[in-house]
Subunit: 457 residues, 2 copies
């Protein structure tokens, strides 16, 4: 007897070229959410998704406008007695610069060896297409065994400013038993992974203003406090010599790691050598007293994401810059509050910025950390699916990145998320030459088919 599972898997394997073609279509759309000039590309990507949903027989397919970038919705609710899965995805991508470091155009997807290269290949258009194609395989082989709702947003890479309001305004439409969020990744291509904790984010832009315009450093060097130096001094004071963040109260609400947490993190097949190899740094760095896995998964961090001031071209220009700018962001862990962190940073600046400059702090993005219940039916279905395809049970890990929507689904819709995904650590997400490993991508489609079948009542 041939069952639906086999037919669906066969359909997927037969159509692997067609699936790849679909992936290339969406990867070719430069839907960069942070750059206003890409607004029409954002719209194009939303329309591409809506047309995919319609071709899968989804109902109520709609592009909802928001204050910035639209949300794409669709649903199919005809599987009697089966759970409702809310499938989350985002169709926006990070900016592609620095462009000169890309081997091929970031929006000209190209297969080289086992990988496809393009901005968004891994984060997360590749994951979106995995779910679309798994559902297509089931629709074409007898019908979906579960009920699904789709929610694609276009603002994830800018901190989802309008998603919470959209969710709040559409609670009934989005009601589900749990959410599926494939915006995380795997520890390595042979290590299927489920993420049960995510760090939060608090992202700021700090500007320090000195003289009313750039000054000649010969004539005025000695009477004005150089804003680039003031900025450097402010940044410098944000860590102590043990790699701890110095903002007053910053660690007050940080959840302590239990013995069990630490044991589990120690079992992950990731060690210092892995981090050294993948980052290329001469030596690792971080908060004293914690392992690399603890520091990236379960401890908060503070990074400077960008610096700009004065003359940055070739050669020399002897100016005292009028201003200096830093992008500064913190990764947060349970139970830190991004708004409290904002207040702590403001307080730090009030205490430490000298009175011979002016400064401005702008909140750019933010969201709290989250921890999921590892025993919901979705996690169990995904765990079994991953074990079937990879032959080993998945690793449960805490991830360093931030998926604020997971917390929003918990607090606004009251549902847990299955956080997984098929990106790899060397996918260059947020960097030049982002890629997706194609054998893993195809395994991902198989795993998603198993996942939906595992949910059949």
């Amino acid at each position: 007897m041939v069952d639906q599972l086999d037919i669906a898997l066969q359909y997927a394997h037969k159509n692997n070229e067609k699936f790849l073609h679909s992936l290339k279509e969406i990867l070719a759309i430069p839907s960069v959410s942070t750059e206003p000039e890409h607004a029409s590309d954002i719209r194009k990507a939303a329309e591409w998704l809506a047309s995919q949903l319609r071709s899968l027989g989804m109902q109520k397919v709609q592009i909802f406008p928001t204050a910035k970038h639209p949300v794409v919705y669709g649903e199919w609710l005809e599987a009697l007695n089966a759970p409702v899965v809310l499938i989350y995805g985002h169709y926006d991508v990070q900016p592609a610069d620095p462009l000169d470091l890309w081997k091929t155009g970031p929006f000209d997807p190209e297969v080289r060896g086992e990988n496809i290269y393009a901005r968004g290949a891994s984060d997360m258009k590749g994951q979106d297409v995995i779910m679309l194609k798994a559902v297509e395989s089931l629709v074409k082989s007898g019908g979906l065994p579960v009920n699904v709702k789709w929610l694609f947003e276009g603002e994830e890479e800018i901190g989802s400013p309008n998603l919470p309001a959209f969710i709040t305004g559409h609670k009934e439409l989005l009601a589900a038993d749990f959410a599926l969020n494939p915006d995380s990744g795997m520890i390595g291509k042979d290590y299927p992974t489920l993420t049960y904790a995510l760090r939060g984010l608090a992202y700021f832009e700090l500007r320090v203003f000195g003289p009313s315009q750039d000054l000649h450093s010969g004539i005025y060097g000695g009477v004005v406090h150089n804003p680039a130096i003031v900025l450097a001094e402010l940044i410098s004071g944000m860590h102590d010599s043990k790699g701890r963040i110095t903002l007053s109260g910053f660690y007050d609400h940080v959840q302590k790691l239990s013995r069990e947490d630490r044991d589990e993190l120690a079992r992950l097949p990731i060690d210092d050598k892995h981090f050294l190899d993948i980052t290329g740094v001469p030596a690792l760095y971080g908060e004293a007293g914690f392992t690399a896995n603890e520091r990236t998964g379960a401890r908060p961090t503070l990074d400077v994401n960008g610096l700009l001031s004065g003359f940055t071209g070739e050669g020399s220009k002897t100016v005292i810059p009028a201003w200096a700018m830093a992008k500064i962001s913190m990764r947060l862990v349970p139970d830190q509050d991004p708004n409290e962190v904002h207040q702590q940073l403001l307080q730090y600046l009030k205490e430490h910025a000298p009175r011979d400059v002016r400064w401005e702090l702008t909140v750019m993005a933010g969201g709290p950390a989250s921890i999921s219940d590892r025993n919901n039916i979705g996690v169990r279905a995904m765990s079994k699916a991953l074990e079937t395809v990879w032959g080993i049970p998945p690793y449960f890990r805490r991830e360093g990145g931030s998926i604020p929507v997971v917390k929003d689904m918990q607090s606004l819709l009251g549902i847990e998320s299955v956080v997984s995904g098929f990106g790899l650590p060397d996918d260059n997400v947020h960097a030049p030459n982002e890629k997706m490993h194609l054998p893993t991508w195809y395994r991902g489609i198989d795993a998603a088919i198993h996942f939906f079948m595992n949910l059949k009542p």
Copy 2:
């Protein structure tokens, strides 16, 4: 009886519109020495000067190639028993960016009110044209009363890398009694000024390298030392809490200020309010224990001239940057040696840069400070000329800026320089909307005519 002085001054006053037209011609040439794409403009500016010299009846007019930008030379040596004045000028200018802050194009000279606006109007094409037009006025009114040699370089704004070699290779050609260097300025439009001390310069580019490419700050935040933060920490450590530079040995050879030096600097008609007004900073800053005039004129300083790292566009991008760059320069005073300062900075970086990053330090430009003899015949002739035109004796000051060629003329040709000029403190040199005050410019031509006449045997 009408003497030559009166005729020359009348010629200058009658031709003021024509003189202004000449100034506009040279200001319209974007001879930016630091940007390779302007090489042909550099050539154009050199040719413009050569043709001016020829039209003044100068001999041996020649454009000498160097390893980078050419030197323009010309001479007239027929004034019997009169001294030989080597007139120095530079025809290159600073880059014009940020362009959006200019009210009119930096190379579309425009007169607004009493000023002419263009890059180089004050620093120093305006000064070059003053000397050309003063000489023209004398040539047209009976002939030059002194012997002159002209030396125009095209590399001043990039630290004159090829000028010392040119001077060394042409010692006989350049032999003179003293040099005239109008590349300094005035304390204010009513205060004629002679500069007797100049600070030196040591300009560096420091790059800190972390991961082999930009990393996702969520996934890797906690294991790599952020190069932008390391750079900030290194910069932060370069000053102590009293505004002193911390490089080991940095002050060892700094000449102490004598009681006389301090008294003289205290007499300058420049106070803290002047610096506050002109810079627009909320409060002044500087090394404890010294006045503003001492700090800008007679004490060394360290400034950051530029910062660049990671994502600097609109919005937020959660990267750990692969590298971070700072342009760092010091203004030096007698008897600091730029090469020693380079070694001190290297030593500082070796001691303070953490081993989890790589770094590179590049020397961009440098030259020692200088102090001139205030009693040479040139200084006396200029002092008298300024007093005649302005009605008060000139102020003698130490200037914060660097004119390494003054030191080179001393050490390579054995001659002193008369360092003066007619730029004003609010001329926005090295900044957007650079300007020259035209009434002062015309007074400068008169003063230069007096200066040459004062040298007549």
